[in-house]
Symmetry: C2
Subunit: 491 residues, 2 copies
């Protein structure tokens, strides 16, 4: 390669990494700010750990410890230690809590948000970097700590923009599930896992499908056979009875659960914990319509040891083809009493809730709750000639002084391209200060919001136009007030 | 290793990566939010690119392209392509702008903030991950675009908390420097670089030191010799005259610069650009005390092609030993017209400003402008007994309803440890609801803000106490108002 043919790299982002622009970023930041304010109000303090953790600290989060670059983005530091970009925000919290336990106020209540990275095969809508938002209490074994996390999650989702009634927190407890397995005579770890996996498919396969997976196995439509957990019919019936033990209210559900798993010590403990969570939620003013017991919730992660909970969007949404689809889970969490002990050897109970910010933004969009004006741009002052730049700058500064986003066009194109620029920026208005206007002490305002509204619903054209002028020339002294009226109007 | 002796990883963060807690995070977020609001008001839209870029896209940002893991954190993707964590926010912008140029509104004005990573030797105060905040205009060659970035940077620093007069933007132009080098007869690229490097040390070595480095070389105190640029005495005098061409106001400085470098074409062009920047700043209402021409500013980065600017903290601060130190640069930027062309081959002028958020937070701290209450915790409701948890939760919910951060203690320790917890959380107050209080419909408030104030200035003890009770028992109905009075007070 010679000096005459310089290397020109292809301008492209790595696969699975997204460039986010204004509308999406503003929506996601709105969520993070609203939820953070709620978490702060509940006494949770922010924590930000670095992007990397040592691979050994990630431990069971690593899909394959022999190949540290599988599942996570890992590299060797110059001292040969393997580091990996964090896969979630729970592992760094466990490391931080273990590292600083002596000096932390206990219980330690923290929230965190930030990117996490997963080295997985990217695809449409499947990213390798995304923002998570978590809140956790480390050092409290009380069921009230779980209840508080659940209540705060419910309040957080509402603050983020989901109206009450459009989502619900569903609560279960791994101890109930363990009690059920004991009661059903399931003893081997392998069989337990097979049962949990079958139960986790209730959503997708329904009770009949789960029944097959609890027994000998299931043949799917493609002809593929999934081997089942091998439970006897009676045991499978017990599991299915457990899954459908949800009743009209928490008290009735608890009674039904007690009947099924109360005979096992762990099951009885689970019933007691869930009852305490339910009582605390009542004291916190969280009704059962916002957070209720649902025995069919399992949660995928292996590390949960007690309460598990999942936030579900109740709205029916439609896919690209207009078909109705269940949006499903928009967050979840639970109690994980063993993660800090992995470092310290000392039992350290912990519980928390996590959601993906982009996924919640998508849920809000599906719920028709997109933030108004997220894509809105600044007012654009048209630049007619170089000699009047000072005038244009003064007008823009005046608008900004009134809290209105404004800029002077700084490219080198003519009037037509400038108007096109203003439109692409989604500007509410363009300001024109030609020689005549400057001499007369006036300014012309072009109402671009109105133009877009007219273009969108052309039928209401005349009625709309009669109320609001598309273009007006006003005294300079009135300019800011007139522009503000356009910016503040909901058009 | 057997089941009995499980592996216990050491709980530690990788070297050079910091865990940030509440006070620091709140200070840094306050800066980012305030500055973002300014940038939005100037018509800049947010952009967030992924953490990784392909190594070839980083190009000259890579210190050593043969060893892609030097200077940056790089790894090979599963398709063998080298990716690296972004080293700054300019390279990803250049890649994004090149990739999307056809569909972007032009000029493209964007701001961005987020972590950047440098694979350098960590040390005290030297981190390998830190937050940068940038604003850039791509696609405008106008000096007004530089002026706008400078004016916005000045407004941003004030919005972040630096009172007017405590910082200044210093403006120079590489074309002036190039004109100077031509005038001084410096022609080889190597000699040019040596001159720029010498000039860049003016701050540290003074005019005498720079003079030595412009000539044969300089012997430092340790006995090490730095070879100089090898200029003749007359040429070195010209350079030094240029560096000290700063006058009482921009007009006089421009005249002095014109005398020195106006004879070269590029120098004359530099004078014209700087004059236009100065005129635009005046139109934008930015006085010379906030942004003025300073010929001694060079900026380290090689890629600048025109205007360069640097924000400097004017306050004198003290180091750990109480010695006065200059805090120096708190941000900088300039015009880089060649970076997008690296991808596209088409000239695409660009200019921008960047600052490190942690460094600005440190500057604010040095300026005594730490955000009040950044370390403040929630009001803590003491948990006396399990049976009254419902009462405690109700009180905490009531306080939160009034916008007061509040929590119920959820650990398992006694009264004394709970008070210690509240103090470590920096709680403004603790609420006690014993059996007597609940029966009587009252609550006891312990004023922890007052306690800390008394501990800090014990001499004012009596006077302080007479105005504000350390502990008060109030009717439940008055609780929220009384707590709010404590939270809102500046103590």
């Amino acid at each position: 390669m010679t000096e005459d043919t310089p290397f020109r790299p292809d301008a492209r982002a790595p696969r699975g990494f997204a460039d986010k622009r204004a509308a999406q970023l503003r929506a996601e930041r709105g969520i993070v700010e609203a939820v953070s304010a709620v978490y702060e109000r509940w006494g949770f303090e922010p924590l930000d750990t670095g992007a990397f953790e040592y691979a050994d600290a990630l431990g069971k989060f690593l899909p394959d410890s022999d190949r540290p670059n599988e599942g996570v983005f890992a590299l060797q530091d110059d001292d040969e230690q393997w580091m990996a970009l964090r896969y979630d925000l729970t592992a760094p919290l466990a490391r931080f809590a273990a590292q600083n336990w002596e000096t932390l106020p206990k219980p330690y209540r923290r929230y965190a948000f930030g990117p996490v990275w997963r080295n997985e095969k990217p695809g449409p809508g499947r990213f390798r970097e995304f923002i998570q938002c978590d809140a956790d209490t480390v050092g409290s074994a009380r069921p009230e700590a779980d209840a508080e996390i659940i209540a705060m999650a419910a309040e957080g989702l509402e603050a983020a923009g989901l109206p009450r009634g459009t989502s619900v927190l569903k609560i279960n407890n791994r101890k109930l599930l363990n009690g059920l397995l004991t009661t059903a005579g399931v003893e081997s770890a392998g069989q337990k896992l097979a049962v949990l996996r079958a139960v986790d498919k209730l959503d997708r396969l329904g009770a009949d499908g789960v029944k097959l997976l609890l027994g000998e196995g299931r043949l799917d439509e493609s002809g593929a056979f999934t081997k089942g957990a091998g439970l006897q019919a009676k045991a499978a019936e017990q599991v299915l009875a457990f899954l459908s033990a949800g009743r009209a209210d928490n008290a009735a559900t608890l009674a039904a659960l007690s009947d099924i798993v109360g005979g096992s010590e762990e099951g009885a403990q689970g019933v007691e914990e869930v009852a305490k969570i339910a009582a605390a939620l009542k004291a916190l003013g969280v009704g059962e319509d916002r957070a209720g017991i649902d025995p069919s919730i399992v949660r995928g992660l292996e590390y949960y040891t007690g309460a598990v909970f999942e936030a579900e969007l109740l709205l029916q949404t439609t896919d690209e083809k207009g078909q109705p689809v269940r949006f499903g889970s928009i967050g979840g969490g639970g109690r994980y009493d063993d993660l800090v002990a992995r470092f310290t050897g000392q039992a350290t109970p912990a519980t928390g809730f996590s959601f993906g910010v982009s996924r919640l933004a998508a849920a809000l969009k599906a719920a028709g709750r997109e933030e108004a004006g997220a894509a809105r741009g600044p007012v654009v002052v048209i630049a007619f000639d170089q000699d009047s730049m000072g005038e244009y700058f003064a007008v823009a500064a005046e608008l900004r002084g009134a809290g209105i986003a404004a800029e002077v066009y700084l490219g080198s194109s003519g009037m037509k391209a400038q108007m096109k620029y203003a439109d692409r920026r989604n500007a509410p208005a363009a300001i024109m200060l030609g020689g005549d206007e400057i001499a007369a002490g006036t300014a012309t305002i072009k109402d671009l919001d109105l133009g877009r509204a007219l273009a969108a619903k052309i039928e209401g054209h005349d009625a709309y136009k009669s109320e609001r002028p598309g273009q007006q020339t006003v005294p300079r002294a009135e300019l800011v007030a007139r522009v503000k009226a356009i910016v503040d109007a909901v058009s």
